[in-house]
């Protein structure tokens, strides 16, 4: 079992969701986040005074799936969200120790 965390551009979320559904991903968790990496921020102006915006809005998509789906999922995410410009985001893969479905008490693969 693996967890995939993908940080993507917010306007790519719908495209990504549809692409993941077509390869059989059955659930995901999405959060609005902010951060910076190589893209850095930009300068904005308010009433004559400039200020730096370093934290850029992004969306984080979290998926938990069987280890054998990881490669295909990463490929799908890249295809769906890539624009080729700086700031496209990153994909992290983490190991998952256990899963429990709260309603039924099912565990691990059954609970994905």
């Amino acid at each position: 079992m693996k967890k995939i965390e993908a940080i993507i551009k917010p306007f790519k979320l719908d495209t990504l969701k549809e692409a993941l559904q077509t390869i059989g991903v059955t659930g995901m968790t999405v959060s609005e986040i902010k951060g910076f990496g190589r893209q850095k921020g930009h300068t904005e102006i308010y009433r004559g005074a400039e200020y730096r915006v370093d934290f850029i809005p992004k969306v984080k998509v979290e998926l938990v799936l069987n280890s054998n789906m990881v490669e295909q999922t990463i490929a799908t995410i890249m295809e769906a969200t890539r624009t080729g410009k700086i700031g496209d985001g990153k994909i992290f893969v983490l190991p998952v120790d256990s899963i429990t479905r709260i309603r039924t008490g099912e565990t691990d693969e059954e609970a994905i």
Binding site: I45, Y46, R47, G48, A49, Y51
Partner: protein, 452 residues
């Protein structure tokens, strides 16, 4: 005879408030002679009565328009400040209209329009409370058929509260609520009507020929001087000026700020249009035109200068530009040409952008730009009368501006200073960071949302 009556009214009506009041007695005698005949005529309404009804109705509509300006101020100030202080801003605006109306009834009206001055042209007080003269003296004869006593009161009362509201935006996000409310009460009950009497009450500046049609100085600068005094004693918001630089604190709701400015513009048709003090068609419509064009030119001026200076067109500056044009034209809306109104508005739009930036650079923290809009553009508009109207003297206009500054700023500074030594002016650091909504009121404007 009817036609003659109407013509007479039209000629007499554009008189200023004070003159209208002085003219009551001789006219009353004349009208008393005429009125029994009118009453006898039964269902037939005489021309002068018809004019009176039309005039008075317009003055009441204008009163409603000035009333809605308070919602405009509330929306603008809330939109231009942080979400965590929204309840506090709305609360202050709600309290101020109440304080303004009640104190004006209690003493303001009779302080501003004393009739007779006890210190010649300088101070007069016609007693506490309001009461209409009996019969026609409080009605058709009160202001030569322009409006009734009650209309006079309620129209002027709506103005009074706006002067205090101007302060609210400038001192926002850090002032203690009770200190602010006490200040507003004293300022709107005593200072505003007292200095107003110098011009509109027929006092010494009126005698000198000083002109302020609807209050660039009497309302806007009077509020603006107090705003400046308050901000100077309060100091800037935490985190505004750090490390020698300016760190902007963004307003949280631009749609709300925009609604506020449009409501203020809407109300200004009554603020200026009602200051004709009758429904005289030519003057009221001219004032609508000059008022509107000045606002439009103010927007254009502010857009151009902010675009050049900032490389980006700034919405908040465009909004301030509209108000700058409106404040600028208020002193001379009925005595300048159409072209004059455009130039006055355009220059006001340039002034407000420059002023907002300069005031920020000298570390006077005014979240909504009230000092620039109301004080600086109020001064400009008052002086502009002396430039764009051949009938008025620039030096007298300057004298008026200086006189109001010389009294209002020290008065406001003094009141704020005393309040500061008794109660303190500023909320503590923790409350300011957490927001005045929770600190002063124990509630949030956007319950359930996380936008701090």
């Amino acid at each position: 005879m009817n036609t003659a009556d109407i013509n007479l009214s039209n000629k007499e009506l554009p008189m200023k408030k004070s003159m209208a009041r002085k003219a009551v007695l001789p006219l009353l005698t004349a009208l008393l002679a005429v009125l029994p005949a009118t009453a006898m005529a039964g269902e037939e309404v005489s021309g002068s009565v018809a004019m009176y009804v039309v005039n008075n109705t317009w003055m009441l509509v204008a009163t409603l328009l000035v009333f809605i300006m308070h919602l405009g101020f509330a929306s603008l100030e809330a939109g231009m400040t942080q979400a965590k202080n929204t309840v506090n801003i709305l609360f202050k605006n709600t309290a101020i209209i109440a304080i303004g109306l009640l104190t004006y009834a209690m003493m303001g009206f009779n302080l501003m329009y004393p009739g007779d001055f006890s210190i010649a042209g300088f101070f007069g007080f016609a007693g506490f409370g309001i009461a209409a003269p009996d019969g026609v003296a409080g009605g058709i004869a009160y202001a030569d058929g322009a409006y009734s006593y009650w209309t006079d009161f309620i129209f002027q009362a709506m103005f009074a509260a706006t002067a205090a509201t101007i302060v609210s935006g400038a001192v926002a996000e850090r002032i203690k609520l009770h200190s602010f409310l006490i200040f507003s009460t004293i300022y709107v009950a005593i200072i505003y009507p007292w200095v107003g009497s110098w011009k509109w009450g027929g006092g010494w500046l009126d005698a000198k020929g000083f002109y302020d049609f609807a209050g660039s100085t009497l309302v806007h600068s009077v509020g603006g001087w107090a705003a400046l005094a308050g901000v100077m004693l309060l100091g800037p918001r935490l985190g505004k000026y750090v490390g020698g630089g300016i760190k902007p604190i963004m307003g949280h709701n631009m749609p709300l700020a925009t609604i506020g400015v449009f409501l203020l513009w809407f109300g200004w048709f009554g603020f200026n249009g009602g200051s004709v003090l009758s429904a005289e068609p030519g003057l009221v419509s001219l004032v609508f035109v000059t008022t509107c064009l000045a606002a439009a030119a103010g927007i254009v001026g502010a857009i151009l200068l902010s675009w050049v200076l900032q490389k980006k067109p700034d919405l908040t500056m465009a909004l301030n530009g509209a108000l700058a044009g409106l404040v600028g034209i208020t002193a001379g809306a009925d005595v300048v040409s159409v072209m004059g109104s455009v130039v006055i508005g355009f220059i006001a739009g340039l002034i407000v952008v420059a002023s907002v930036m300069i005031i920020d650079r000298v570390k006077i923290d005014d979240p909504v730009g009230a000092i620039s809009v109301h004080l600086i553009c109020g001064i400009w508009g008052t002086l502009a009368v002396g430039i764009f109207s051949a009938d008025h003297s620039f030096l007298i206009q300057l004298l008026g501006v200086a006189a109001y500054g010389a009294v209002c700023f020290p008065a406001a500074f003094g009141i704020f200073f005393v309040l500061k030594s008794i109660f303190g002016l500023r909320v503590d650091e923790e409350e300011e960071l957490q927001g005045l909504d929770v600190g002063e009121h124990g509630m949030e404007a956007y319950g359930g949302f996380v936008i701090k």
